[in-house]
């Protein structure tokens, strides 16, 4: 008699990348179309998220309808510039560079107590000011590049990197962005480098977050699906690690929402009066 053991079913973060790429390409095309845009603009940092977003935009619209922006500060790593140019060249996209140093340093000079953390946020918001202005100049819709892991961790500048109206990567964990990036042909140097927000010299994402993306994403997927801690621990994750991930998620729900409005009426927007964002009779 043959004995056959069924494999244990586990949550998997590995996706069908060609299918995902096709889906996100159509998503970009349609979301731009009803908003009246034929072009997209992407602020490329030299990192994998913006490179993947740029690659998707080129698939959706063609390289001539995509504008890349590189928005360095004098403290930005030289590697960021090198990689931003490499990504734009790889996908055949025109890249405009705007140095945000004078904008940021102008305010910094007036603000002697500015901490590195506050200055980092200032850079992110300065970049959004430029991105949205250039959006008007090019009549190109700004694309967001934030991934699901950083959104869940609140690891972004509020009304900064989360500001663009259309984001193809926001439901993909960081490790999934790596998978998609490889499929789309994002240069290996960009996919494999240590992730960093590059707002403070020497900074890395995983240093800031205190957990590796490869581990965080598995914990997040199980936590969001409602698995109890004991189940996640049995997969080989430490209780402290799981708690750190859950705390980050639960300290930042406000950051993934619009500002809180006091409700007084039965026509309060978004509470009683509910219309989808694409509702346009």
């Amino acid at each position: 008699m043959r004995l056959l053991y069924a494999p244990r079913i586990q949550e998997s973060l590995e996706l069908n990348w060609p299918l995902v790429a096709d889906f996100l390409t159509r998503f970009l095309r349609e979301e731009l179309s009803w908003r009246g845009y034929e072009k997209a603009i992407v602020a490329v940092s030299g990192g994998v998220d913006s490179a993947t977003t740029l690659a998707l935009a080129v698939r959706a619209l063609g390289a001539s309808r995509v504008q890349a922006l590189f928005l360095p500060h004098r403290d930005s790593s030289p590697l960021s510039r090198e990689h931003a140019h490499l990504v734009a060249e790889t996908f055949g996209v025109d890249l405009e560079e705007v140095d945000i140093t004078p904008m940021v340093e102008g305010y910094a000079a007036m603000t002697p107590d500015l901490t590195p953390h506050r200055k980092g946020n200032l850079m992110a918001r300065a970049r959004m000011m430029v991105l949205f202005d250039k959006s008007q100049a090019y009549h190109a819709l700004p694309l967001g590049t934030g991934n699901k892991t950083e959104r869940l961790f609140g690891y972004f500048t509020w009304h900064g990197d989360d500001a663009p109206p259309v984001n193809p990567l926001g439901d993909l964990y960081k490790t999934q962005v790596w998978g998609l990036a490889r499929y789309l042909g994002v240069p290996q140097a960009v996919v494999e480098k240590v992730p960093t927000a590059d707002l403070i010299p020497g900074q890395t994402d995983e240093g800031d977050l205190g957990v590796r993306y490869l581990r965080a994403d598995v914990i997040l997927e199980h936590y969001l699906k409602g698995y109890p801690d004991a189940y996640i621990e049995a997969l080989g994750y430490a209780p402290e690690e799981i708690q750190r991930v859950k705390e980050r998620v639960n300290r930042t729900h406000w950051k993934r929402a619009l500002p809180t409005v006091a409700l007084l009426s039965s026509t309060a927007l978004g509470e009683f009066y509910l219309r989808p964002l694409d509702y346009r009779p």
Partner: protein, 293 residues
């Protein structure tokens, strides 16, 4: 009247503009023009085809009475210059007095509303929120058309095997399923929801020996990509035609009613169900808590 054996269907996998019924009717007219040389007798449209699916409170502004629906589609029939009758199955948000329903109508254009099915199973979980805005239908029934006896089930209605069992027992030879299904689960060859539809449609068709015609919406609605993948399954459970994912398409399929009796003779599951179901009714009553619990 003896219904004909072969009935040509066009399953129109449609992408509506959100909340713009006028533009959508104009586009439907263009599609009918394109379909006309292929001489369909029944055109099957998806759920919420004239407005898009996710409307939230906008349902109240865009819902139609069944007579307004007939009037609008008869106007399209006239503008297109369609010669003779055209049967249309179409999903729409229905207004009736003060209540709103997720409905699908079987129309015989340009003259009459043959039947309206109101969705019974209103998904209100995850990305879905139907019961917040809509009232629940209370009936599943087959009805007669000029091409034979059929039934309509809308989207989640079809995910519960009890509804197609009722429709089959009521004599339906075709179950039309207008649907709107946001793609999710991207691990496999196709999105998980698409796989589920294929499995279900084949299982239901084979169990009851009837045709299943799924017409599934396409287009992105606020990031949610309606999957498409409309299909037609024959009475033996074989996939006869399948539309691509995510884009507009039309399937032209001749449904052959003569195939049903031989298939049911080989696999008489429906007559078994008819005979044995009464035996199970006391248990059904029991598990529903109506007696002895």
């Amino acid at each position: 009247m003896v219904a004909r054996s072969l009935v040509r269907h066009a399953i129109l996998q449609f992408r509506p503009e959100k909340a713009r019924p006028k533009e959508n009717l104009a586009r439907l007219g263009e599609h009918l023009q394109a379909l006309r040389p292929h001489t369909p007798e029944v055109v099957v449209l998806p759920e919420a085809a004239l407005t898009g699916y996710f409307l939230q409170g906008g349902v109240r502004e865009l819902a139609l009475t069944r007579h307004e629906l007939l009037e609008l589609l008869s106007q399209v029939h006239k503008e297109v210059g369609w010669e003779g009758l055209l049967d249309v199955v179409v999903g729409f948000y229905e207004r009736d007095e003060g209540a709103y329903y997720n409905s699908a109508a079987y129309l015989e254009l340009p003259h009459r509303v043959v039947h309206v099915h109101r969705k019974v199973f209103l998904p209100t979980y995850g990305v879905f929120d139907e019961e917040r805005y809509l009232a629940r239908g209370r009936r599943v029934e087959a009805f007669n058309t000029r091409f034979g006896r059929v039934a309509i089930l809308i989207c989640e209605d079809f995910w519960h095997s009890i509804t197609s069992a009722i429709a089959a027992l009521d004599g339906a030879e075709v179950i039309y399923v207008p649907a709107a299904s946001p793609a999710r689960g991207f691990q496999g060859e196709r999105p998980e929801n698409v796989e589920r539809w294929r499995t279900l449609a084949r299982a239901v068709a084979a169990e009851h020996g009837l045709y299943v015609v799924l017409s599934s919406l396409v287009g992105f609605e606020g990031g949610k990509g309606m999957s498409g993948g409309s299909l037609v399954v024959g009475p033996e459970g074989r996939l006869l035609a399948e539309a691509p994912l995510f884009e507009e398409a039309a399937l032209i399929v001749d449904l052959d009613r003569e195939r049903i009796p031989p298939v049911r003779y080989d696999s008489p599951l429906l007559s078994d169900l008819e005979a044995a179901l009464p035996l199970l009714l006391p248990d059904l009553e029991r598990v529903l808590g109506r007696e002895g619990r």
